[in-house]
Structure formats: structure tokens, C-alpha cells
């Protein structure tokens, strides 16, 4: 019988970090992540973990310390949000380029300005091209489960890449929910012992990390990085299945909800998927054939699975909680629409921006998005590709 506790998302991840017992954690507090690192610091001070906890003066330093510790051969974790993630920017690319399996929890929060501490996905979406694996969580349970799986995915010898596991700031990070936790021993056995590849502390085999890399080799190194992240999909799937065998909670790259016979669907990330389930149940009661595609894995983008899930549909509403200013739609819309270009049949796709700066989204908003998508399909013409939910005109 699994142990059930009341945890908010931050507590769930801090508890996962305690069970993972990483060699090094370097972090700087930033709302809404602070609660997570604070709890982990308590585990350190109570002697419940063996981790070296490095308090740093900024997120740039936090990621730099993580890179150093991971290159030295340690199992390394951190956590951040919003402007903190933005301050890590250049180091994110370096961590990925050096193929260091750092696991970072990010509580998604709007980027300034103006200053806003609430949820949207601008922070991690901005970092989507940095070479990190990017997993979204729908609730505290998934934040806990994804954190444990992230260690195993990142450290797989076919992967060796950093991962960010995200949860929606406040909506998940500060809401207490029912969370099933594993035994310490189960987590320890699941993740196994870590062995760094080319550790700097192996004095008999000296290595150089991050040498100058000019026009003769930089391009080839980037090509091998492209290959590395593309090859992660089967590993993420395998680890999700193994985690299912352990916990009873199976994980895939994406999850369909009432999608089998659906004609219309919403595509969403994070906690909004929970809201979407409500909306879909309500529309189904009215006889509408609607469903949800939840994107758990955003990077690498599971193109084949997206085509398979969405191609049979008539219309899709893609919900974006962040903007790519000046782009044709939000980050999720752009990816989904691009993937479907080669699909055997192409559904109509509308992009809905919503929830910026923590603006609430309600089941009625999602119902409206699905209804509008149906109208567009029936009209046979898309007049407006981009629309907004919950915005005052």
C-alpha cells in the first residue's frame, strides 16, 4: 500500500530530492520555487541527506556551481523560476553542451516586466532551445514522479543531458494535494548509483571540459548534440514504463484524454490539462466528441506521437501560456502546427493565448475554445489563427 501524504508541488519535489539524495545542490531562492529549496535546506540541516548544499549569490552562480559539480562527477540538482532561470541563461547552454545530467525543477512563472510572480510558461519556453530535456507536470504527483524519473533519464548513458522538470507556479507549487510517495529504498533502487562519465576528479585520466571550439569543430559538436537529444525519446518512454511498474503510475511522452473517438481536441501543458478534463467531460455530456492531448515532454518534441494522436482530428485548439513576440503563434502552436504539415490529414488549428501572469483559466474558457474550433471547421475557413481566452478587450 503506497503512502499518501498532503504535499504542495514544492514539498513533493523537495521530498523527491531528499530521497534522491544528490551529491550536490546549488540553488538560489526565487518565488515561487523558494519553498522547495527551503525545505531541502531543512533536510540538509537535519542531516537527512548527504548532499553538499551550496548557497550561492545568484542563479548564474547556482548553475555554474552545478556545472562544476557535475563535471567533477557528482549527481547534481537545482531549482529555480522565471527571472532566476533567465539569469542562468548562458550557463544552461553550457550544461547541455557539456552533456551534464543536471536535474532542475522550475516553477513556471511569468518573466518581468511588469513584475509578476504568478504562473505562465515564458521562463522555460524561453529556454527551450538551450538543449535541455523539458518535462511538464500536471499536478504535484507528477512533479514528484517526473523528478525521480528525470534522474534516471538524464543519467542514461545514451542521454547524458540536463533536464528541467516544470510545475505551474503557485497553481501546483503552493496547492496542497494528495501525493503518493515511494519508499526511500524504492527510489534509491530505481535511480541506481551514479557514475560520472569523464569526471574531473579522476586524476589518473585528466580531461578538459569546455575548450575553445572554432570553425573547425563547433558545428560537428552541435550536430552530435542534436543527435543526443533526438535519441532521448525512447529512453523517456522506457523510464516512464519502468516507473509505472514500480508505482502503478505509467508515464508516456504525451497523454490523450477521451481522444480515441474525438473530432476536436485541446492541446495543453501543465495544470491546465486538469481544467481541460473538466471541460471535456462537460462537453461530452452534451454529446460533443472532444478530447485532450497533454504534452508531457516538450523537448525533445515527440513529433511522431503528436502526428499519430492529432492527425485523425477535424480541429485542434492549441493553448499557449507564453508568447513568442512577433512569431506566428505561441511555442506550442508553432511546434504542433509544424509537425502536422506532413501528417496524412491536417486538422484545422487555432492558437489560444491564455493565463499570462497567472490569469486563471476556467473550464468554460476551454469549452469556448473547443466550440470556436468547431465553428471554424464547419465554416471551412480560418479567418483568425490566433485568439485569446480570458482577456478583456
Amino acid at each position: 500500500m503506497a503512502k499518501v501524504v498532503g504535499f504542495n508541488g514544492n514539498a513533493a519535489v523537495a521530498y523527491a530530492m531528499k530521497q534522491i539524495n544528490p551529491d550536490v545542490v546549488a540553488a538560489y531562492p526565487i518565488t515561487p520555487q523558494t519553498d522547495c529549496v527551503e525545505r531541502f535546506a531543512e533536510y540538509v540541516s537535519e542531516g537527512l541527506v548527504d548532499s553538499e548544499f551550496i548557497t550561492v549569490e545568484s542563479e548564474h552562480s547556482a548553475m555554474s556551481a552545478c556545472i562544476g559539480a557535475a563535471a567533477a562527477g557528482g549527481r547534481v540538482m537545482t531549482a529555480t523560476a522565471a527571472n532566476g532561470l533567465a539569469l542562468m541563461w548562458e550557463m544552461l547552454y553550457i550544461a547541455a553542451s557539456m552533456r551534464l545530467p543536471i536535474v532542475m525543477m522550475v516553477t513556471n512563472r511569468a518573466l518581468s516586466g511588469n513584475i509578476n510572480i504568478h504562473c505562465d510558461h515564458a521562463d522555460t519556453m524561453g529556454a527551450r532551445d538551450a538543449g535541455w530535456i523539458h518535462l511538464f507536470s500536471e499536478n504535484a504527483q507528477e512533479a514528484y514522479d517526473n523528478t525521480i524519473q528525470a534522474i534516471k533519464i538524464a543519467e542514461d548513458l545514451g542521454v547524458r543531458l540536463p533536464i528541467m522538470v516544470t510545475q505551474d507556479g503557485f497553481i501546483i507549487s503552493h496547492a496542497v494535494e494528495r501525493v503518493e510517495i515511494l519508499e526511500d529504498e524504492e527510489v534509491k533502487n530505481f535511480i541506481g548509483a551514479y557514475k560520472g562519465r569523464y569526471p574531473l576528479l579522476d586524476l589518473n585520466n585528466p580531461v578538459t571540459y569546455g575548450p575553445i571550439d572554432l570553425f573547425d569543430y563547433y558545428f560537428e559538436h552541435k550536430r552530435s548534440q542534436i543527435e543526443a537529444i533526438d535519441n532521448c525519446l525512447p529512453v523517456i518512454e522506457r523510464v516512464g514504463k519502468e516507473f509505472g511498474e514500480l508505482s502503478g503510475r505509467n508515464y508516456e511522452l504525451l497523454e490523450g484524454y477521451r481522444l480515441e473517438d474525438a473530432e476536436y481536441a485541446v492541446v495543453a501543458l501543465g495544470s491546465t490539462c486538469g481544467t481541460a478534463r473538466e471541460a471535456i467531460d462537460s462537453l461530452r455530456e452534451k454529446g460533443k466528441k472532444v478530447g485532450l492531448l497533454k504534452m508531457r515532454c516538450f523537448r525533445p518534441f515527440p513529433r511522431e506521437s503528436v502526428i499519430e494522436a492529432l492527425s485523425p482530428l477535424k480541429g485542434i485548439a492549441v493553448l499557449d501560456r507564453s508568447v513568442s513576440f512577433g512569431g506566428f503563434g505561441g511555442p506550442l502552436f508553432t511546434e504542433v502546427r509544424s509537425a502536422l504539415y506532413d501528417a496524412p490529414s491536417r486538422p484545422s488549428i487555432i492558437n489560444f493565448f491564455y493565463g499570462l501572469g497567472g490569469r486563471d483559466i476556467y473550464p468554460e474558457d476551454i469549452e469556448k475554445a473547443l466550440e470556436r474550433t468547431e465553428e471554424v471547421v464547419k465554416a471551412g475557413k480560418i479567418e483568425q489563427h490566433i485568439d485569446y481566452l480570458g482577456l478583456r478587450e
Partner: protein, 96 residues
């Protein structure tokens, strides 16, 4: 440079996993000018050897002779020619 490798042959993360390999990087091809030695004018004072920042002057220490330049690593900075007290022993000429 020696033969360039394709992307599939590279160490993950762009690491250098062997020590002491700086000598494999032939920095001589950075040169736009190169020093030329006129052995008849050289007084074998070893000033060029002492001043060369790239250790690219080949000498026979026991015989007390300056022999040649190592063009694999000489970057053509011209410090040897400037330091040379024997006028005309080292001349900088354009690299072709």
C-alpha cells in the same frame, strides 16, 4: 591540422580526454608572415630562442648553434626578428 573528424567520431560534450595534446594543434597555420634565417649572418646568441613565446626556435644547445624555426608552431609574431642583434640574420617575409 591533422585529418578532421566527422561528428560521429567525437567525444560527447566536446571534451578533450587525452592529456598533453596541445602539440597536436599545429598553430603555425595562423601565420601571415614567417621568419627566415640567414645562417651566414647568425651569431648564435640564442636571443631568438629566449624571446620566442611559442618555443618554436630549434637549437642545438650542446653545439651552441641556432638551427632553424619550427614552422608547425611559429605564429609569425616577429619577436625573434625584433630581438635579433645580428642585422639581417632573421627577416620576416609574407607567408605564401
Amino acid at each position: 591540422m591533422s585529418e578532421l573528424k566527422g561528428w560521429k567520431e567525437l567525444v560527447p560534450g566536446g571534451l578533450i580526454v587525452e592529456a598533453g595534446n596541445a602539440k597536436e594543434y599545429k598553430t603555425g597555420d595562423w601565420r601571415t608572415e614567417k621568419p627566415e634565417l640567414n645562417p651566414e649572418k647568425c651569431i648564435h646568441c640564442f636571443f631568438c630562442w629566449a624571446y620566442c613565446p611559442d618555443n618554436a626556435v630549434i637549437v642545438d644547445a650542446e653545439a651552441g648553434k641556432m638551427l632553424a624555426f619550427n614552422y608547425d608552431y611559429c605564429k609569425g609574431c616577429g619577436i625573434c626578428a625584433a630581438a635579433c642583434p645580428a642585422k639581417g640574420a632573421i627577416t620576416m617575409v609574407p607567408e605564401r
